[in-house]
């Protein structure tokens, strides 16, 4: 036990003495949280909108006016011909193109089947999907209003029964993307910093030759590993605290669930990450190698965490892989506890899996650390 304290003391001294590392540990994550949480949004805004009006009637102008009024579509270009419009889309001047056919107003009044041509630049498939929804909503709303108007004009007695869906968004009523993203990005920062720090730590001692000096002492492997891990565990918890405060102060993200539960889960989670980091450290000879391997895993973990893309829409085999992704569990728990107020029973599956993961990774880290080659 005393031996471990000497290692912890030494690690802390080295961390806080390293003037190059301190800002990386504390300032960069804060900047990232502030910047990424504002930038990483699924909303599509400022859509460049173009139209070809072949009808030139008050109805067609009214439809265009609807798009003009929307906050999502901001640039409106009137194209005289389809060829010019296509050329503009090729150059990237237009994202969405609406073509209003001849006799649009007349056909609508006659309640004939009517088709509007909508062309969407779908190089970014996700954005295109969102844009499609926006266009459909505007057109539908326009069409409904129009029909109601027409019916009043013809003075009909029977009002058609309208079925409207009123969506209720639970846990994030305002569909605020920041509320959704901030907890997720906080997870990333805690993970990346602790993974990189622990991944580079032992390998750094290998490089400067001090690890050999440690290996000729009678220190036990587990003592050494625990002494090495603990300071980074503290840093991880510190980052979580700073992140939660920022989430509350800057982004006003609600903290509905229990804070101690959040800390309990994170304290176990960080051990998973540290275990992975040390495991990497044991199998690499230089900090560059460790960095690249840590980066490789980080990218996979992040993209398959459900943070940016829903896990439900991944292929089956990919969903199976995500079961081994610690970040996935942390993102789930963070969102569940912060936004839904889940209690310990709700997050029990994640908690158990994470604890098991931590146990295995640290076991592997201790096992793979060799004092004798």
């Amino acid at each position: 036990m005393k031996t471990i304290l000497y290692i912890i003391q030494k690690e802390f001294k080295q961390i806080f003495r390293n003037k190059g590392m301190l800002p990386i540990i504390f300032v960069l994550p804060i900047l990232q949280l502030v910047i990424l949480s504002n930038a990483a949004t699924f909303e599509v805004k400022n859509i460049k909108f173009g139209y070809i009006d072949n009808d030139h009637t008050s109805t067609s102008r009214a439809l265009v006016e609807k798009f003009n009024a929307s906050t999502y579509f901001n640039v409106l270009t009137d194209f005289p011909s389809e060829a010019l419009a296509s050329a503009a889309m090729l150059k990237g001047e237009v994202d969405v193109l609406l073509e209003i056919p001849n006799y649009f107003e007349r056909d609508l009044q006659n309640e004939k089947h009517n088709a509007l041509g909508v062309t969407i630049n779908a190089i970014d498939g996700a954005a295109a999907g969102v844009e499609n929804v926006y266009v459909s909503q505007i057109v539908q709303r326009f069409n409904q209003n129009l029909k109601v108007d027409l019916m009043q004009v013809s003075d009909q007695q029977i009002q058609p029964v309208k079925i409207e869906t009123i969506p209720l968004f639970w846990y994030n009523e305002t569909l605020n993307y920041k509320t959704f993203m901030v907890p997720g990005i906080l997870v990333l920062l805690v993970t990346m910093i602790t993974l990189f720090l622990s991944g580079m730590n032992i390998v750094r001692e290998k490089e400067i030759g001090t690890l050999e000096q440690i290996n000729v002492t009678p220190i036990k492997k587990s003592q050494f590993i625990i002494g090495k891990l603990f300071p980074f565990w503290v840093i991880g918890m510190g980052l979580l605290t700073i992140g939660l405060i920022l989430a509350k102060v800057i982004f006003n993200v609600p903290m509905i669930g229990s804070l101690p539960l959040m800390y309990l889960y994170t304290s176990i989670y960080i051990f998973v990450v540290l275990g992975i980091g040390l495991f990497i450290s044991n199998f690499t000879e230089t900090q560059q190698q460790a960095m690249f391997i840590a980066w490789f895993f980080t990218v996979i973990f992040i993209l398959m965490s459900g943070l940016f893309t829903p896990i439900e829409s991944m292929p089956k085999w990919a969903q199976t892989i995500t079961e081994f992704n610690p970040i996935k569990y942390f993102v789930e728990v963070m969102r569940m506890v912060m936004l839904k107020g889940s209690n310990i029973n709700d997050i029990l599956p994640q908690l158990i899996k994470t604890a098991l993961y931590a146990f295995i990774m640290n076991g592997l880290a201790v096992w793979s650390y060799r004092k004798t080659n």
């Binding site: 005393k2 031996t3 304290l5 000497y6 290692i7 003391q9 030494k10 001294k13 080295q14 003495r17 390293n18 400067i208 030759g209 001090t210 050999e212 000096q213 440690i214 290996n215 000729v216 002492t217 009678p218 220190i219 004092k371 004798t372 080659n373």
Partner: protein, 242 residues
């Protein structure tokens, strides 16, 4: 042990794939002896030493260090030995005192003992003025002396020194050897590798390794007589050139 040998090695071999780095070396070192372990670069000195201090597994042979077998009790050996590598291996970003405290701590010394030890060490080395300075800022010669003292902090039975005076000025080398003599007088066995042949003369006995084998082992005086030369330099040249 009856025979008073603190290191006993028999047919110790280390292979890296097809390459035999250390080829069946046999020797013993007596308690309190200063044992010079010479050889050209790449002769296998460091590899042999690493097997003796328990950080490299031998391929075959037998070795007993401080009463423990290197195959089965490497960790027990580590309590009774000190080691100073040819690469400076204290923490540059810790102060002199902090380095002493850290290594004292992981060797299991009590806080009180660490305090006493660091006071003695710092005084002996004349490092009072820089005791709270980062080790990285010290000149190489001072670092090496500190490194030697730290490797002796737990009063080991044997201390292994791998080229301790490489790149050090003649005055500091002189002081370094005074420290080695002092340690030997207090009963510590010193196992030292060096490329300086004048230093070889200071050793009680010297072995010379060539291509993984020990080609000569005797007192410097007898080696000189045997090869009919008047200094160790010529002994070394005769052997190393084959």
């Amino acid at each position: 042990m009856k025979n008073n040998n603190v290191i006993q090695v028999e047919g110790l071999t280390k292979m890296f794939g097809d390459f035999t780095a250390v080829n069946a070396i046999t020797f013993e070192v007596k308690k309190g002896e200063i044992f010079g372990f010479l050889g050209a670069n790449g002769a296998g000195k460091t590899t042999a030493m690493k097997m003796l201090i328990g950080i490299s597994n031998p391929t075959s042979g037998k070795a007993n260090v401080a009463g423990f077998d290197v195959f089965t009790h490497a960790e027990d050996i580590k309590k009774s030995i000190g080691y100073m590598s040819q690469k400076f291996a204290l923490y540059d970003d810790l102060t002199v005192k902090e380095n002493i405290t850290f290594f004292g701590g992981i060797y299991g010394l009590s806080r009180k003992r660490i305090k006493e030890k660091s006071a003695i060490l710092i005084e002996e080395l004349g490092l009072e003025k820089v005791a709270n300075k980062l080790v990285g800022a010290l000149p190489l010669g001072w670092k090496q002396k500190l490194s030697f003292s730290v490797s002796m902090i737990h009063d080991p039975k044997i201390v292994f020194l791998d080229e301790p005076t490489g790149g050090v000025d003649p005055i500091t080398r002189r002081q370094f050897w005074e420290m080695i003599y002092k340690a030997a007088n207090q009963g510590t066995t010193v196992f030292v590798t060096t490329h300086y042949m004048d230093e070889a003369e200071y050793c009680d006995r010297v072995s010379i390794m060539v291509n993984g084998k020990i080609e000569a082992l005797d007192t410097p005086k007898q080696l000189k007589a045997k090869f009919e030369v008047d200094n160790m330099n010529d002994v070394f040249l005769k052997l190393a050139r084959g």
